[in-house]
Symmetry: C3
Subunit: 302 residues, 3 copies
Amino acid sequence: MKTICKGISNHSQKGEVLDMHFSSIKFNGKEIENNLFKLNNDNQKLFEISFNEDTLNDPIKDIRDAYLKLHLLSHKFVLPNTINLEGLFTILPNIVWTNQGPIALEEIDARLNESKFHGNNLYIRSIDKFPCITDYVIPKKVRIADSSRVRLGAYLGEGTTIMHEGFVNFNAGTLGKAMIEGRISSGVVVGNNSDLGGGSSTMGTLSGGNDVKISIGENCLLGANSGIGISLGDNCTVEAGLYITAGTKVTINENNNTKLVKASNLSGLSNLLFYRDSTNGMVVAKDNIKVSELNEALHKND
Amino acid sequence: MKTICKGISNHSQKGEVLDMHFSSIKFNGKEIENNLFKLNNDNQKLFEISFNEDTLNDPIKDIRDAYLKLHLLSHKFVLPNTINLEGLFTILPNIVWTNQGPIALEEIDARLNESKFHGNNLYIRSIDKFPCITDYVIPKKVRIADSSRVRLGAYLGEGTTIMHEGFVNFNAGTLGKAMIEGRISSGVVVGNNSDLGGGSSTMGTLSGGNDVKISIGENCLLGANSGIGISLGDNCTVEAGLYITAGTKVTINENNNTKLVKASNLSGLSNLLFYRDSTNGMVVAKDNIKVSELNEALHKND
Amino acid sequence: MKTICKGISNHSQKGEVLDMHFSSIKFNGKEIENNLFKLNNDNQKLFEISFNEDTLNDPIKDIRDAYLKLHLLSHKFVLPNTINLEGLFTILPNIVWTNQGPIALEEIDARLNESKFHGNNLYIRSIDKFPCITDYVIPKKVRIADSSRVRLGAYLGEGTTIMHEGFVNFNAGTLGKAMIEGRISSGVVVGNNSDLGGGSSTMGTLSGGNDVKISIGENCLLGANSGIGISLGDNCTVEAGLYITAGTKVTINENNNTKLVKASNLSGLSNLLFYRDSTNGMVVAKDNIKVSELNEALHKND
């Protein structure tokens, strides 16, 4: 496999690469194809690069690798957690994302000050290593209520709705239709027909969480303001407001005896309902009887 | 009653309606009046439509009905839950909301790609069936810290402040002054002088919740990160971090005996304080002694 | 000490001040220096003002004082809670912040309506007394994933990352590097090397909280969806999903006996781990063994 991509890059006044937009990508028989146009801006360059299996398996060496891999994820050519993203944070520069395109940090003070006098209304949407997905890739049959909350590198299945309180990091996303009003941390993948309630949390591995990447199966419901530090299999529900960490001691029923287990021992199991008994504060897992169903009208995002 | 409205619609290249802006509306003796101007864009059309009581009571038949009803709500001509919104999700197309106006989904890939080469800095704020309220209606004496979090169709009382973490869906809102740092789901109405703390949640009926529309009375406080799946009457407080679902078993005191009731049985009652006893995990409701008061300086939004 | 500042102000059609951008400030030997340019817009004016120690200690008298003090905080010339901000909410007008600059509330209806016909795509980012920090001040070695969530007047230490779910109010911030995925209320200061997990809450004094300003020391971790109404010293951890209010009764171990104390009695202490025992619902504080460490790659924000 050897594959050619074409696109356009933006550069700082010093010539450093700020970002790369991939207009066309061919990959494993699928392809994205948009026209290239003639350039008339000194700070832009056309590029044509090739990559192969090794590129995907190797750590990220430069900004081209980084933007390529983020595009491949968001175009759904590759699934989250299947390509090597080592080095991503180190390689990606911190960029000022503005209504006038990406700007280098060292140039922004002068640009912003000038803008005040010249009335060209520069404004800054974000100062970050990652841009928004919708600045590069528009996923089909998806709704994204606030594009500032989905990073390039997110993988969004058809029929997914990301509400205003939803968030999807890079190398993370949904495999099918899903209602996302909670936060999908980097590395977390959500199965078809699952629902992350408003403000719900999935513990990540980048910051403050632990080392195990978690996932959510199909037909799951994380209640509003709930959260998980373990994986869920299929048909699981976590009660609104309950946070299950890996270390939470959970009461289960086994052969008619109650028994305490660490939540991490239940990680990935299916058909569980997690709740906190409001009469005694015990966190309990039991068979999930009422499985969540999505409202079809909210996910036919044509 | 028969009423005339005028305004302007945007169309896709194929001629499909993308959105409708109502410049003037007369309704029940109140009126909104803004000038119409001559058009000079092939993708825009002037419209003049009439509607009557039946229109309000009938299901939504087309995009005109949809935008009319969303405008009526946000101009506060009608209260939430008083007009028929059946069919809204089916009728509204999924639109790309950009800094260059609404764009049809099928046109966006080419537009975005061209923009990269021609330096016109198209960017996408949202891909959704609903636009932001402030793209069409500017409610008076209101603050909205992040306009991307209030949908057209929200009803915002004078003196309302929607903070950055606040959110208001269509057909939902506040009846008077209110501090909203939490999420008001579709169908939920909040009474005068109430305060939804940061990250607090009101369970909706569209997705993941149950079937009963909930409401919040006057002088209520939802603590930060709390949530409710039941209605609150007046003068109620929910402790920070506590989520009351309809099924939560709540301990109350009746004639000096404690008693367990389902939270749904307390729905809509006034003067209650809900908290979880931090010595034994029991969720308790008792008489609310310290009623919440808003800070006046934060709600004089002239 | 007497200090000169220069900059540019925007005015409404009536001549009222909408905002002030400080291009140059000299203060205590440090200085910000950007060029002034010739004006060509009737609604803009150059200003040159001086201030001294008294200005900092006195209540805010006018918009100049207000913008001066917010700039001083965001340029990190002064620490939060060290200058007098009395009168800030009363003095600051409610402004419509748009992609065409600040607009007076009374002018916005006509401007928005005209924009629909003339295709100049006015849109409103916010209606608020406070603008975003990045419209005036770009803090160095900082990432801000969504600029709409950090107000002018925020104080952001080098190495701070504000994620999409993070929020920082005016007169609040971080003293060193920090991962902020939660909400820093006005008056709250976070020490070096601390981590506020996704959706975590710090109780403020402006609205719905109590009267005591809280702070967070160094090397602390607020778990996702947790919250505090008390201060934390150094090396403290609050379990994901747990909200500690001032009145929470906390079980501690003293000389091998358990004892109940109000959380406010633990305010500001170091080396504590707060969690809710998931077998009995008791909120417990004990010695914190595993202290949080930030992931270096996420905070080298060059």
